[in-house]
């Protein structure tokens, strides 16, 4: 990809913040604390409004430019949890609102999404239904000018700090693809309660928790898209989520690769730099292939999406390639750094813990393979 001066300037504005956003990374990771001060620093750059029109305070950039800036965030920021929360915020509320929301919803909420004054989250997964979205049990029943939402969600990223939730609930026959509807719900809506943060393996500064809906009344005007359109709203959001969150991973993989090259050329064992041993250099070559392949798939898919082409298969391949490439790259880095890679001080082990989640959220690797098989007619 070739980027013009304006795109480069946006990219540089966030990468210059990288060192500041990375300070005390290990301590925050250990404590699993959301970095509110750094969130405010990201807000000040305007990054959160990147893909949204300027009439709502956004920067009016296209998907590819948004991804380029996010790749810069991934490359410069060692707090992957913060980067993940940024991506989740952008895509969970803003993206469905922009595409499917009413004019009134856009006017009311997009400015808060763009400036980050209201943090966004989407509530999709349920305790008994992870990948099986169509099996969701949370219901939304129309009652006059409102819908009554009842049920429970789990693993809701950003929930403990979120102000706005896009909740997906069943409004039709279980299992039918037109049985799901999306709603925008404010945190202080009676009947919505947020659980305590759930401990997790990686991305620990991006908190997630359960969200309960107990007779939660939501104005019908807060419906995003038509009744029953939720599955396609979600499909659209997932495309953006995969492209935005995994391009951040590409930035992280690139940074990890550079560290490994530097280490392999300076660290000596048995009188030689360890990079002179093929067992090490081959690992680094595989890391290079993983990052380049992931980058190509993600940008090519985004380019096709922007041109209005169907990317159902491409998005699944891109997600698989990037998420599994990130795990293998992170594991290789631990091996290359040896004992140091195993310590928390170097941050290499954190990269591995953070990477594993990518093979699970936004549709597991197994589900992505199932999608590709179905698109092949298998």
């Amino acid at each position: 990809m070739r980027w013009n001066d304006d795109q480069q300037a946006l990219h540089d504005a966030i990468t210059e913040l990288g060192d500041l956003l990375s300070e005390n990374r290990a301590e925050r990771d250990a404590a699993a604390v959301f970095p509110r001060a750094n969130w405010d620093r990201v807000r000040a750059t305007g990054l959160l409004g990147l893909p949204f029109p300027d009439r709502w305070g956004g920067l009016d950039q296209d998907l590819l430019t948004t991804m380029y800036v996010l790749e810069g965030l991934g490359h410069s920021c060692r707090d992957s949890g913060l980067s993940f929360s940024v991506s989740t915020h952008m895509v969970s509320v803003g993206v469905p609102l922009l595409r499917f929301g009413s004019a009134a919803l856009k006017e009311r909420y997009l400015p808060k999404v763009c400036d980050g004054s209201a943090i966004g989250a989407h509530a999709i997964t349920e305790p008994d239904n992870g990948s099986d979205i169509m099996g969701m049990r949370t219901t939304a029943v129309r009652d006059g000018d409102e819908y009554v939402l009842t049920g429970g969600k789990t693993f809701v990223s950003n929930a403990p700090v979120a102000d706005l939730f896009v909740v997906y609930a069943r409004t039709g026959k279980a299992g039918s693809p037109n049985a799901i509807t999306a709603f925008l719900v404010e945190r202080d809506t009676p009947g919505l309660s947020v659980g305590t943060p759930i401990g997790k393996m990686g991305l620990r500064t991006s908190p997630f928790s359960e969200v309960s809906l107990d007779g939660c009344r939501v104005p019908a005007t807060n419906r995003i898209g038509g009744e029953g359109a939720g599955f396609l709203v979600l499909d659209h959001v997932m495309k953006w989520e995969i492209l935005c969150s995994f391009i951040i991973n590409v930035g992280e993989m690139q940074h990890r690769l550079e560290r490994c090259v530097e280490y392999a050329t300076t660290r000596e064992q048995f009188g030689q730099p360890i990079g002179s041993y093929q067992s090490v250099s081959n690992r680094i070559v595989d890391m290079k292939i993983a990052v380049e392949t992931s980058r190509k798939w993600l940008y090519d898919t985004a380019d096709k999406l922007q041109r209005g082409e169907n990317v159902t298969t491409d998005i699944a391949i891109a997600k698989l390639t990037a998420s599994e490439g990130n795990v293998s790259s992170a594991l290789a880095a631990v091996q290359i750094f040896g004992g140091y890679g195993y310590t928390t001080e170097y941050g290499i082990e954190q990269g591995l813990r953070d990477a594993v989640g990518g093979t699970i959220y936004s549709g597991t690797s197994d589900v992505q393979r199932q999608r590709i098989a179905r698109m092949l007619g298998i």
């Binding site: 169509m134 299992g175 693809p177 037109n178 049985a179 029953g228 599955f231 396609l232 159902t312 199932q370």
Partner: protein
């Protein structure tokens, strides 16, 4: 081959191989009846977009457009009409 027949043929071939095309009711709700599931819907949308040259922006806006053979045929006709007007 008419649009309806072509749509029926695709659905039978891919989602209901045991049903003769002429026995697939044009107003059968494909989504609620379980003939087309969520991944099937994505495949159907991809096929309609490609076969009838309809941009995804239009095609993925509502599953209602894909609930039956009749609905898909009407959606295709509308999209073609809109495309003519745009020219």
């Amino acid at each position: 081959m008419s649009t309806e027949v072509e749509i029926k043929s695709f659905i039978v071939r891919n989602f209901a191989p045991d049903v003769p095309p002429d026995q697939l009711e044009p107003d059968l709700n494909l989504l609620d009846s379980g003939v087309v599931d969520s991944l099937g819907l994505l495949r159907l949308i991809a096929w309609v977009g490609e076969r009838f040259d309809i941009a995804v922006e239009e095609a993925d806006i509502s599953p209602d457009n894909f609930r039956s053979v009749d609905a898909i045929a009407a959606f295709v006709a509308d999209a073609r009409r809109n495309s003519e007007v745009a020219r």
